[in-house]
Symmetry: C2
Subunit: 229 residues, 2 copies
């Protein structure tokens, strides 16, 4: 169950609710006094934005979370100019970069999971493709130029509003070094992968499938969803 949000966000995710119909609060929902049976999703799906949008990005006036006409979810709507602020999940994109049978990992120099190992990956930026994001992150975190191959694994983390996407890739020259966000970078043979010190479940999911598929020589596209630990 998510942490209790600010009171003005306490609306449940009811896709059945029509514009203008009464909404019920998070407390009502918890108490069983709300319209729970009409809700599209369970309690675990109550909308809890990662960052509260309190002021309008266009004019600076205060916002309120209301359900706009023809919409089904509460959005931060400007009290002055009416601008609607949408919040959407973000993509984290990276790759499994291979060199002579070993895999490039980075030990994180930043939070979260400082000091743990990860595949090079990070938030996708505007104006780039997913493959470009994977290559850029590998360059930034491991100073490595990677040849990107096919998409390989996708992991949903709905509780944090993220979708993780990993590509397969190759290091053409085996050159790498720690970038500013890495304490160290190293190549790991399959038997040496530091499973107990991996930073993220999505990285473990990707590597497990990758090593298994590599034995058969047949790479698919693997997906899973993770709930909060």
């Amino acid at each position: 169950m998510p942490a209790s949000p600010a009171p003005e966000l306490a609306f449940c995710y009811c896709s059945q609710r029509k514009p203008g119909a009464a909404k019920h609060s998070l407390d009502q929902h918890y108490d069983g006094r709300g319209n729970g049976s009409q809700c599209y999703t369970s309690l675990s799906r109550l909308i809890v934005p990662q960052i509260v949008i309190s002021y309008c990005t266009q004019c600076g006036a205060a916002t309120a979370y209301v359900i706009p006409p023809l919409d089904s979810l509460p959005r931060a709507v400007c009290s002055r100019c009416g601008h609607i602020h949408y919040e959407n999940p973000r993509m984290v994109v990276g790759c499994v970069a291979e060199w002579q049978g070993s895999i490039l990992l980075c030990r994180r120099a930043i939070q979260p999971r400082h000091g743990l190992w990860t595949l090079p990956a990070g938030f996708m930026e505007m104006n780039e493709t997913t493959a470009e994001a994977a290559a850029r992150e590998t360059l930034e975190e491991a100073c490595a130029t990677v040849e990107i191959d096919a998409p390989y694994a996708m992991v949903n983390l709905p509780h944090v509003g993220q979708v993780h996407l990993f590509y397969r890739g190759r290091l053409p020259d085996g050159r790498f070094a720690p970038g500013e966000e890495s304490l160290e970078t190293a190549l790991f043979a399959p038997a040496d992968i530091p499973w107990e010190s991996l930073a993220f479940r999505s990285v473990a999911f990707c590597l497990q499938h990758y090593l298994r598929d590599r034995e058969t020589g047949s790479f698919g596209f693997h997906c899973t969803d993770y709930a909060p630990r």
Copy 2:
């Protein structure tokens, strides 16, 4: 080439630039007086946010687009509280929903591409998975309950900051009807797909591969990138 952005956004995407180093303007770049040779990407990749963030979402003060320490891209940073506003691509998720060999399409009742046909799809929301987004959009746009199968196609549209993802799916009972965002909904046999009246290139890409793969019975995961028309 993107439309000319507001002057305060006119910084090019230079991943080589270190924090604090001078940035060059969009005009300098166009004129050839900038550091073009040091740029990570071509002119077509100049960062042009879809919506300018002029005021801070946390305190309402004015922002300025600057490159934060240890970052490589300009972000809208609050002049008072220092809050950094990140903008990232959004995912549009939908599905190919099949019933007795035919495919469910929706004729759009909203802009953009009002009146043209599309697969049920829309912006992924916070606190849902990609498969849930595909099912929700099919319910909203075609009043259809769909059984979601595997991810099938991904299309990057970096110039509009979008990644389109389509699943394969099945209508368990063949029931559907136009939702609020659809003028009409209909099942199309492969020979009757309205190719000339499809709303989006990503939909055409997905359907072309889908029909081809269906003949062989082997469905992969197909990806492409589209530049502006």
